[in-house]
């Protein structure tokens, strides 16, 4: 599940321009004591979901196992859901354990999406774990995590 390579559809002009513009400026990485970083993720999870239990399962998180640049990392989240009126995914939340800010993005979905699949491109500051959490229509929370090694860091 974790680490499935989904490099795929990347050769877009916009992306190339994005890489060029990012290369122009230097980046400041705020290095904090290692123990402090997962605490920020824990705080963000608590702030978003309170004390609700987050189970592992039902969510598939695809991102490259190794990213040469952390600036444009393709990510796809797939949630195992029928996406019917009664049984669907309400939202998907993406977190980066060791970015300056752990929150990456949140999307709201519903039965009108047909499939609970979302792709985007994200910045990952350093080698770390990425976490996807899905909130289902029965208000249960499901998740998946994946490790990614980042060779050249970004400024997320």
């Amino acid at each position: 599940m974790a680490g499935k390579n989904e490099a795929g559809s990347s050769a877009r002009p916009g992306r190339r321009r994005a890489l060029q513009s990012l290369a122009a400026g230097a980046c400041l990485i705020v290095v904090r004591p290692a123990a402090a970083t997962p605490e920020r993720l824990a705080a963000a999870l608590r702030e978003t979901f309170g004390d609700r239990q987050i189970k592992r399962g039902k969510v598939k998180l695809e991102l490259p196992r190794l990213a040469e640049s952390g600036n444009v990392v393709p990510v796809t989240v797939t949630v195992d859901s029928a996406m019917t009126e009664r049984d669907n995914v309400k939202s998907v939340h993406l977190f980066a354990e060791r970015n300056n800010l752990p929150r990456i993005l949140e999307v709201q979905l519903g039965p009108y999406n047909g499939k609970a699949v979302v792709s985007s491109r994200v910045r990952l500051a350093i080698t770390q774990q990425v976490l996807a959490v899905a909130v289902l229509s029965d208000d249960t929370l499901w998740s998946a995590a994946a490790e990614i090694e980042v060779t050249v860091s970004s400024c997320g």
Binding site: R12, G14, R15, R17, A18, S21, L22, A24, G25, A26, C27, L28, V30, N71, V72, V73, T76, A96, N99, N100, L101, R103, I104, L105, E106, V107, Q108, L109, G110, P111, Y112, N113, G114, K115, V117, V118, S119, S120, R121, V122, R123, L124, C155, G156
Partner: protein
Amino acid sequence: MMSRMGKARVRVPERATRGEIVEIRTMVDHPHESGFRHDDMGRPIPRHIVESFTCSYNGREIFRARLHPAVSTNPYFMFYAVATESGELVFTWTDDQGGAATQIARITVTD
């Protein structure tokens, strides 16, 4: 009002059969500057990000994203929608400096 919010591109199938799940791809030209970078002189580059992206299908919101600085420059999204009827998909991006962009795509749905 289009402060540095550039061209928006969307890819939606022109035709679909009723009930078909169609793929939607979107991208907007935007620096989506995280606020964590410094220029060559060491000065901080201020944050300038797209905060929200929405897609409505014949007036009903079917996708909403809230973006944080860790989304890449030129924010890209791929998601799906059930083709229920012919009509319009309206895509809207808004950033944290009052910038906004809108793009419209039409879809013809047949039985």
